[in-house]
């Protein structure tokens, strides 16, 4: 059963809303970063590999 009367009540968390929401959102932010960081690193590595191949074949970077 849902523990809160309405949405405002849910945000307020009986006076502890600030602590609960800051804890949840900052944690989820850190963990989300862990999950997306590899995607960007992979993109960069592939770009590097292509640049190297281009350099190897043409002599120009």
């Amino acid at each position: 059963m849902f523990q809160f009367e309405n949405f405002n009540d849910f945000l307020y968390m009986g006076g502890h809303g600030y602590y609960v929401w800051v804890a949840y959102f900052s944690s989820l932010g850190v963990l989300a970063f862990l999950l997306v960081a590899p995607f960007f690193r992979k993109k960069n590595i592939i770009k590097e590999i292509k640049k190297q191949r281009h350099y190897d074949s043409t002599g120009y970077s």
């Binding site: 602590y19 850190v30 592939i46």
Partner: protein
Amino acid sequence: MWQWFHRLASPRWFYQASGKFLPWISMLGLFFISLGLVWGLGFAPQDAKQGNSFRIIYIHVPSSFLALVGYYIMAAAGAIAIIWKIKLADMVMKAAAPIGAAFTFVALLTGAIWGKPTWGTYWIWDARITSMLILFFLYLGVIILQSSYEHKGLSSKAAALLALVGTVNIPIIYKSVDWWYTLHQPATIRFTEAPSMHPDMFQPLLVMIVGFYFLYAIALVASIRVEILHRERRTKWVQDLVFTNKNNDP
């Protein structure tokens, strides 16, 4: 058996196999985390003494769990890398260090935020908290050592040694609440006893712990894959992967 072991330890094989199961564990992770978040934030009953601030437990305990488990994984990978000189193990150690540090950071952060309404302070030099801070510094030390020497093999070896020595800290963290009864409450979950929590509160916690295990696995596997691509970038199979795949998504 040995053949199997070596195949498993081949970066190329790992890259190809992990590409197949990564989408599945990602979906499972998403499922458990969403379920746990909704359950823990909205549907678990509030604590009689702490009110709703207790809901922070659904992040604090799972991230602390993975901070410790992740350290063992990192140290074990370091040991394997030193003893058997397996490249993949070195990559696992390299990938595991920042992820473990992030989970430790989340554990410390949520603990501090939770401490304010519960104990009246964000920080105190309690045994459990201090030993967790040391764990965080151990992770940072391993990360720094990995890039400290010009010679790659030397820095991995130094990092693995630090990781191994640091494992001493893990049982200290685990036992700290019993040895020094300061402020942090004793463990909520023990392997040998029934949990000291009402099932309505405990079930969402279990769901979150499972979800965090998946989160950790996803982050670790994804980082290992990137590390493999980077270190094997001059090999033929990586080159083939990059240049024959049209959508640039090896």
